[in-house]
Amino acid sequence: MNVTEKDVAYVADLANLELSPDERSRMVRDLNSILGHVDSLNALDTKDVPPMAQVSDRYGVDESKKGSARFAYTYRDDVKEGLRKSFPTEVALANAPDSDETFFKVPKVIER
């Protein structure tokens, strides 16, 4: 499969990146080089092999249980106020590039 300039533009758009013309042409070259290597996976017949998203897909699971109870890793009792109290507003906003001391400020979302 060959990645084209058009594919790079489309994927950059999905990834919220712009990329300069130089970066785009380099990206076409690099993605094709990496995906060329990745194509070696096609030599494997995997149609009967289950996918593994997490180590816990194979471990830390109790086969006798159902749903989320099956994942021993993720189970805990609910905590009413949360495991950790929320940060006060000023702490949550301390790293914000722009705020009005109550909210994060961003450029206008809806153009008139």
Partner: protein, 477 residues
């Protein structure tokens, strides 16, 4: 006394016996950093105030004659992808250049609770993406064993700081080899625990199903001490395991006689440098002399690990790094026309080339029409790679392999060829995909005096076993 050459035990003992104070020890390390780090660049940020305060607290305990905690006064460095409350944390990226976290990473908090003195934050590849540390947005790290060479990556600052006596021990993170590979390049011990053994809370995420936190140390025993301190269930990380934490240090000296150690031919094929091969073969012979039974095993899908890894890792990264948008923290681009323009310019200007490349590759692998062919395919191959280890571990207790195909390469040697850089991780990514523990220990040097590392893999949660083998080798060497 050579203060900066101490190990965890000797540092703690020196303080307990009043041969030095925690404050004097910390000051000695800061002096060493001031004199030596300008040519190595291992540190990005020093946390002097926090470090010296902790040291004073330990000294007050020592002066009262109180029982000292296991890491009392031990100066450590922290890879800058682990967040530290009130101490700037950048992940080696411009996009987080001014980020001051409001809370602590669990692993760091546990080290400090055990008495450790945090000296500062260590340089790394941007968002832990790289194998040479040249992707740091601030400055590359130089290998203390040969300044013209890379220290490895992405925990290059962590490995270099320990190797250059600028920290007794360090924390790193390992998503595809980022603890073990730099440990081998710099000649120190690097341990990647089992997935779920150490909480990832407060680790700036790269690929959540592959990310691990672990120690880099001067000795195997120090690695055991560090792991014992940071391991264990944390309610803030739902993937941290409920299993009790063994006393890794107490189990170190159990005999290795009769233990079955596997050697897989797939890790000794074409591409492995001849000098490394002979060093590792000699190390295997030494294990045999110590009474280990050497058993041939096969891990037949090994050659598919790099392509599977770079699809899974980048897909997860593209999702994890979507949060960096210039709204809540970090860098925001100036003079923007709209919200979407702000996102794009912020990310364009804030991320470096390798991070953008991985976001693009991951987004592509997840995009409509390619998801099945790439991401899903890679997840199926991940199952095959995991089954390889399951089969092999039916026959053996541990598996030994090279950590890297070559010793440390020159700065600049691979920067223009991302695929060549990715292939430097060929022997390490498998443990991340399968979630098994792996440790890299020094087993010799090349003719050019560059360190050589050997890896020891174990079954899930069998850190005690690989530490024991590593310790037996280290003591015999």
């Amino acid at each position: 006394m050579d203060l900066t050459g101490l190990t965890i035990d000797s540092a703690r003992a020196a303080i307990a016996e009043h041969k030095t104070s925690a404050l004097a020890l910390a000051e000695a390390f800061y002096a060493k950093i001031a004199s030596d780090d300008p040519k190595i660049d291992a540190y990005l940020i020093l946390s002097k105030e926090r470090g010296l305060e902790k040291a004073s607290e330990i000294d007050r305990l020592a002066n009262k004659g109180a029982n000292l905690p296991p890491l009392a006064g031990v100066p450590v460095g922290i890879k800058d992808v682990l967040i530290t409350k009130g101490v700037r944390t950048t992940a080696g990226s411009k996009i987080l250049g001014n980020f001051v976290p409001p809370y602590d990473c669990t692993a760091v908090a546990r080290l400090e609770a055990a008495g450790a003195v945090v000296l500062g934050k260590l340089n790394c590849d941007e968002f832990a993406m790289g194998s040479s540390n040249e992707n740091s947005a601030f400055k590359p790290v130089h290998n203390p064993r040969d300044l013209s060479r890379v220290p490895g990556g992405s925990s290059g600052g962590s490995a270099a700081a320990v190797a250059a006596d600028m920290a007794v021990a360090a924390l790193g993170s390992d998503t595809g080899g980022s603890i073990r590979q730099p440990a081998s390049f710099c000649g120190v011990v690097g341990l990647k625990p089992t997935y779920g053994r150490v909480s990832r809370y407060g680790l700036i995420a790269f690929a959540s199903s592959l990310d691990h936190i672990g120690p880099l140390t001067k000795t195997v025993k120090d690695a055991a001490t560090m792991l014992r301190t940071i391991a264990g269930r944390d309610p803030m990380d739902s993937t941290s395991a409920e299993l009790p934490v063994p006393d890794y240090v107490a189990e170190l000296d159990k005999p290795v006689k009769g233990m079955k150690v596997g050697v897989a031919k797939e890790y000794f094929g074409e591409g492995l440098d001849a000098e490394l091969r002979s060093s590792i073969e000699a190390a295997i012979q030494k294990l045999a002399k110590l009474g280990c039974e050497i058993v041939e095993v096969s891990l037949p899908h090994t050659k598919y690990a790099i392509p599977a890894y770079y699809l899974v890792a980048t897909a997860e990264a593209s999702s994890n790094l979507a949060r960096f948008d210039g709204v809540r923290y970090g860098f925001r681009a100036k003079d923007v026309r709209s919200l979407s323009d702000m996102y794009r310019r912020t990310r364009d200007q804030g991320f470096g080339a390798e991070v953008k490349r991985r976001i693009m590759l991951g987004t592509y692998a997840l995009s409509a029409g390619y998801y099945d062919a790439y991401y899903l395919k890679a997840q199926r191959v991940r199952t095959l790679l995991t089954r390889d280890f399951e089969e092999a571990f039916k026959k053996v207790d541990a598996i030994v392999a090279p950590t890297t195909p070559t010793a440390a390469f020159k700065l600049g040697e691979k920067v223009d060829d991302p695929l060549a850089m990715y292939l430097a991780d060929i022997y390490t990514v498998t443990a991340n995909l399968a979630g098994i523990p792996g440790i890299s220990i020094p087993v010799g040097v090349t003719k050019a005096k560059l360190p050589i590392g050997m890896q020891i893999f174990g079954k899930h949660f069998a850190e005690s076993t690989i530490l024991r083998v590593a310790n037996a080798y280290e003591k015999a060497a």
